[in-house]
Amino acid sequence: MNNLSQVNSSDGPVLSANGLTKTFGKLKAVADLTFEMPRGGVIGFVGPNGAGKSTTIRMLLGLIKPTGGNAQVLGHGICTPSAYLNKVGALIESPVFYPGLSGSINLRALAKLGGFPAEQVPGVLETVGLTSRAGDKVANYSLGMKQRLGIAAALLPNPELLILDEPTNGLDPAGIVEIRNLLRQIGSSGKTVFVSTHLLSEVEAEADRLVMIHNGKLVFAGELAEIMKNTCDSVYAVPENPEDLPLIIGLVSEAGYSFRQEEDAIIIAAPKEWSADLNRLAGSKGINLRELRPQCESLEDIFLNMTRGEVAK
């Protein structure tokens, strides 16, 4: 592996990997991963369970050594983690703390270890909404509270880069929205949030960019908007009177779009803008539509489409 620790540029990519590989015996957990992500915003690191996300994150944090390739974090090679980890906050898998100590003492111990002022502890506890329970033993915390404490610990270094592994695990819906908003807030403040999750819908709601992996291999790396472009390429329509369906089919055929029928509904392979045209055409024939909406693919659908070949294998 090349030593890239000398490379340092505050404008360079926040994360980059070049052929990053990790094998455990015969298992290739991460295979030839190559991507580059600019600074700022929220980067979603997605893939199903076992895709290699945690292994990649551990390599980026210097916890395990790559078998091949190299990577850089904040311009420093991952073979010298001490060069960049003071600017990185991390929550690795489920957050773990000393259960017999309070949340506040756990954070104070971590602040001492990292050389950060203990005065930051109340601030990060407030940020994650744990001030009122700061003096309670972690053993008495719910899973969601432990997640919040994990995020608080990751915020202690006032990091340039926040690496979070499944940060909304165990949170209730309100907690998920809160954390999502918090991550967006951090991402928009010039810092970078690299958030790993297997919940693609979550990433769809919070990420600006994506690194998508499957079976240890890169599936996609780029802007979320880019992958979501042209995903609303069908229109879903249901006439109020099912007997009008053949007339609708006739209108669709006349317009030259293909379609498929699902019970009383028709799904037309047309851009979402054509919904208005269909509404007008149906109206002119005296047909009332009970439902008419563009049908968009979710990130989950896109992911499944992109990995269908591999899943079939």
């Binding site: 455990f24 944090l61 690795i92 898998e93 100590l101 003492i105 971590l110 001492k112 270890l113 050389g115």
Partner: protein, 265 residues
């Protein structure tokens, strides 16, 4: 190193933790002292179970007589030290806290030696508590058995106290280091404590019985001799050399594993 020490000390040196670990050590040291002074005039040379051979009145009246009780408890204190090191080091792997510690202190040597320093200070603190109890118990029990205490309170007695405390502290730390290498290797507190206690209390005796030539070189025997300032079988210089060899070997093996091994769980 200071950062690691202050962080680890904050976690370990809580009153409940200190009392929890110190209580059995103090009780054992007190019992060792009590058994030593019991029937001092007539019971010399009697075997008193885990506390060993009872000393005679002359030994008890000697300048080091007031800390003989803690010598009797040294193996037990050593096992407690082994458990303290093993529990604290293995727990970081079992709970996964090692991950966050390594992100905050990526210099693994610094983290490891900071942890060892903290745990060593902690077991010395526990040993100090046991030593204080031994001294107080000796002073309280001596008059009842007509043991003169003037030699204890002389300069020579003070010197013996300090040297004795240093010996038992060093022995205790090395017991801890053996627990440490087992914990780092197995990443399990339960396995490392069972393996340590099993080897040091059972297998070592068996080995010593079957292979006499190595019997006085095995860790529990050597550390017991160091804690007592030397014995008839193992002289002090040999005890200190072999003990340090065990300590250094434990540190080298444990630190290499700690630094080089991937943190996968």
């Amino acid at each position: 190193m200071n950062r690691v020490f202050s962080s680890e000390w904050l976690k370990i040196a809580r009153p409940v933790n200190i009392l929890g670990w110190m209580a059995p050590v103090v009780i054992f040291a007190f019992m060792g002292t009590m058994f030593n002074f019991m029937d001092a005039a007539t019971g010399a040379g009697e075997f008193r179970g885990p506390f060993g051979i009872a000393p005679g009145p002359e030994q008890l009246a000697a300048p080091d007589g007031w800390i003989i009780g803690i010598h009797s408890a040294s193996s037990f204190i050593g096992l407690i030290a082994l458990a303290i090191f093993a529990t604290n080091l293995a727990r970081d792997y079992e709970k996964g806290t090692i991950r966050i510690l390594l992100v905050l202190e990526p210099n693994r040597f610094r983290l490891f030696f900071g942890k060892l320093l903290t745990l060593s200070a902690f077991v010395v603190l526990i040993t100090a508590g046991a030593t204080v109890v031994t001294i107080l118990a000796s002073l309280a029990l001596a008059p009842g058995e007509n043991i003169p205490v003037s030699a204890w309170l002389s300069w020579q007695g003070m010197r013996e106290l300090l040297v004795g405390f240093a010996n038992i502290s060093l022995a205790t730390i090395i017991w801890g280091l053996i627990g440490g290498v087992l914990a780092i290797t197995t990443r399990s507190a339960a396995i490392s404590i069972s393996a340590g206690v099993g080897f040091l209390l059972i297998f070592e005796l068996l080995i010593a019985n079957f292979v006499e030539s190595v019997g006085n070189k095995l860790p529990a025997t050597v550390l017991g001799a160091l804690a007592s300032g030397g014995t008839i079988i193992i002289e002090y210089p040999t005890a200190i050399q072999l003990s340090l060899a065990y300590g250094v070997a434990s540190i080298i093996v444990a630190s290499l594993i700690f630094v080089r091994r991937d943190v996968t769980d």
